[in-house]
C-alpha cells in the first residue's frame, strides 16, 4: 500500500516537474548537455583542460595568491563555506560565493543576475579590487608565457592566448560541472529506495504542500529569476538596483539552485544564515516586510518533524559524485 502511495506521489512529482518545463524529468538538462569528454584530443578536450588548470591556477590573481578555486571549492559544491569570500590581501568580498553546480544551465550571473554570460563572468573576479585585483591583459601575458598553456590554447583554439581563450576555456570547464546523481535523481530515475521515508515526506512538503516550487522548480530547482525574499526590512546591499538604479530592482537577488544546497552554507546573498533549518524558519516567518518582497514569500507553519524532513529532502539533493569527481580537480 505504501509503495502505491509513493508511486502515486512520484507520478505527481513527475507531472509537477513537467508543468515546470522540465524537458526530461529523468534526465536533467545538465546531463543532456554533457560534453563528450571521452573525445580525448578534441579541441573541446583541450579547451576544458586549459580552463580547468586556469581555474585552479593563482596566476590569475595579481599577487598569485588565490585562484577561482579559492572561493569555489569542489567539496563544497564550488562554494567556500564563508559568509562572504576573501580576496587577495584579505580583502572582503561583498557577497556570498555562489555554487557552480550546473552553472552551464544558468542564463544570468552574479547574485543580482546582471551579467549575461559565463564568459563575461570569468572577467569579474580578475578585475574586482576585492578579489584578484588584476587586469585581463596582464593575465593573458602570464598565461602566454607558460608553454604548456600556450600549447593547449593552440590545440583547443588554433590560436595564441587571447582574452577569448582565457574566458571561454574557463567557461568551458565550468560547463562540465554537472551534478545529476543525487539520491533525488536516483529516486526520479526509479530507484525509490534512494530516499528514505523522512526525505520522501520532505519532498512532498517541498513539491505539494508548500510554496517552494514557486521559486525553486525545474531540473535545477530554480526558476532562473530574481526576487526579494524578505531577508531584511532595510538591505545594506541594493541588489540588482546597484546597476539599474530602478527602485523595483532594490534588493532583488537571483533564486539559487538547490542542488547540493546542504554543502553550500552559509546561505543568502550575504551568508547571514548558517543552517538550512534556519533558512526554513526564515521562510516560515514570511520574512521581514519590504515593499519589493516577492508575493510568494508568505508565512506558514511546520512542526519540528516536518522541518527536519524538509531539511532531509534538501540533503537528498547532494550529489557526492559531483563533490568528489576527480575530473573536476587538478592534481599537481
Amino acid at each position: 500500500m505504501k509503495a502505491v502511495v509513493y508511486f502515486g506521489f512520484f507520478v505527481g512529482v513527475a507531472l509537477l516537474l513537467m508543468r515546470c518545463g522540465s524537458a526530461a524529468m529523468s534526465e536533467p538538462i545538465g546531463a543532456t548537455n554533457r560534453p563528450l569528454m571521452s573525445e580525448v584530443d578534441s579541441t573541446e578536450f583541450y579547451r576544458v583542460k586549459l580552463g580547468k588548470h586556469l581555474f585552479y591556477d593563482p596566476i590569475l590573481s595579481r599577487d598569485s595568491t588565490i585562484s577561482c578555486a579559492t572561493c569555489h571549492v569542489q567539496e563544497l559544491a564550488f562554494t567556500d563555506g564563508l559568509p562572504k569570500s576573501v580576496g587577495i590581501r584579505n580583502r572582503m568580498v561583498t557577497r556570498n560565493s555562489p555554487t557552480l553546480t550546473n552553472v552551464g544551465n544558468r542564463t544570468m550571473f552574479l547574485l543580482d543576475g546582471v551579467n549575461p554570460s559565463l564568459e563575461s563572468q570569468v572577467g569579474v573576479p580578475i578585475q574586482e579590487h576585492n578579489e584578484f585585483d588584476f587586469h585581463v591583459l596582464l593575465v593573458i601575458d602570464r598565461i602566454a608565457n607558460n608553454p604548456t598553456y600556450a600549447g593547449w590554447a593552440r590545440k583547443g583554439y588554433n590560436s595564441e592566448v587571447t582574452e577569448f581563450v582565457l574566458k571561454n576555456s574557463i567557461a568551458s570547464f565550468e560547463r562540465t560541472l554537472i551534478s545529476d546523481n543525487s539520491p533525488y535523481d536516483k529516486f526520479i530515475d526509479g530507484n525509490y529506495a534512494a530516499l528514505d521515508n523522512g526525505q520522501k515526506k520532505g519532498m512532498e512538503l517541498f513539491f505539494e504542500t508548500l510554496n517552494c516550487t514557486e521559486c525553486h522548480s525545474g531540473p535545477d530547482f530554480t526558476e532562473e529569476r530574481l526576487t526579494n525574499n524578505g531577508l531584511y526590512e532595510v538591505y545594506a546591499d541594493s541588489g540588482r538596483m546597484r546597476l539599474t538604479e530602478t527602485e523595483a530592482d532594490r534588493a532583488i537577488f537571483k533564486v539559487p539552485t538547490l542542488r547540493n544546497i546542504a554543502v553550500t552554507g552559509p546561505y543568502m546573498h550575504d551568508g547571514s544564515i548558517e543552517t538550512l533549518e534556519e533558512v526554513i524558519k526564515h521562510y516560515e516567518s514570511g520574512g521581514h516586510p519590504h515593499p519589493g518582497k516577492g508575493k510568494e514569500i508568505v508565512p506558514f507553519e511546520l512542526t519540528s518533524e516536518e522541518r527536519s524532513n524538509l531539511v532531509r529532502f534538501l540533503e537528498a539533493l547532494t550529489d557526492n559524485d559531483f563533490l568528489t569527481n576527480p575530473a573536476f580537480r587538478v592534481d599537481y
Binding site: 551579467n115 563575461s120 570569468v122 582574452e163 577569448f164 546597476l243
Partner: protein, 325 residues
Amino acid sequence: MKAKHLLLSAILTGAGFTAQAQTTIDLVLNHQFEGASFQYGTVYDLNGTAVSLSRAQYYMSGFELTHDGGQTTSMPDAYVLASGNVSSYSLGMENITSLEGFSFDLGVDAVRNGMGTQSWSAGHPLAAQSPSMDWSWPGGYFFWVLDGDVDTDMDGTPDQPFSLRGLGNVLLTDVNQFTGMSLSGSTITIGMDVNIADWLQTIDLASVFSQHDAGSNNQLISSNTNDETVFTLNASLNTEELTLEESNIYADYQMAYAPTIYYDLATANNVDITVVDMTGAIVLEASKQNPEGNYFIRKELPDGTYLINFTNGEINKQFRFVIKN
C-alpha cells in the same frame, strides 16, 4: 553647369546606378575645457571651482551619415573610443561623395554592450582596454569615464577625487543631428570641438566621490550631451592644425603596478617608444606609434622609477613614471 550635374546625379541614382566611390571617413576631436585646450592634470575653472581631470574617455557608436542629396548610411561597425589626449580617429570607408550631415550615439549599443570584451580582437575599441573601459560584473562598458579632482576648500587646488563612469544601456545618448555640412574628397574629415566642461555642468563634483552606475549624476552627463553642448561642429579642424607646439605626457596610476601613459606629442609623425629602467636597460619598446595615444605598460615590472622615451627625427621626449606593486 551645376544644375546639369545634379540632374545627371539624380538620373543615375534613380536608375539604380551609383557614381559614389569608397571614401575614407575620419573624425577629428578637438578636446577643450571651456575654450582652453584640454590637458590631463591641468587645473581649470569650472564655474568658480578648480577642477582637474586625470582621465577622460568615452565611446561613440551608431554613426549615421547623411550624404549625396539626403541619402543616409549607417555605420553599425564603427566604434570610437575617444580619449581626451587623442584627436584623430578613423570611422572606416563608405560609398559616399559628399557628406551633408551625421549623427552618433554616446555610448555602446545594447547588443554589443552585452557581448563582453572577449568578443573582440586586440586593438578594437571594444576589446579590453587599459585602464579598463568595462566593468565585468554588469557585463557592459563604461560609456564614459571622467576621473579627476575637485577643489573642496576653495583654495584653488583640486583636493578631492571624483570618478564618474556611465554604465548601463539607459545611458545610451543620441547626439543628433549635425547638418549643413558639405564635405567631399577621397578622405572626408569631420571636425568637432568637444567641451569636456559641458559634461560636468550642474554636477556637484564635491559630492560625487565614485559613481560607476546609471545614477543621477551620470544621467546628468547624458542630458548635458547634445549638438549644442559638449559636441559642436568645427568644419575647419584637421589633424595638422591640432599638432601641438609642446608635448603633453601624463601617467595614469589607476593601476599603480601597470600605469598607462597618455601622450600627445608635438609632432605629426609616428614615434618610436622605449621604456627603460634606471640602469638604462630597455624593458619595453614599440616602433612607429601614433604621435598621440595611450601606452599601457603591459608588463609586470619591479617597483621603481622608469623612463619612457618618445623619439623620431623631430622630437626626443622623455617622461619619468613610477611602478608600485
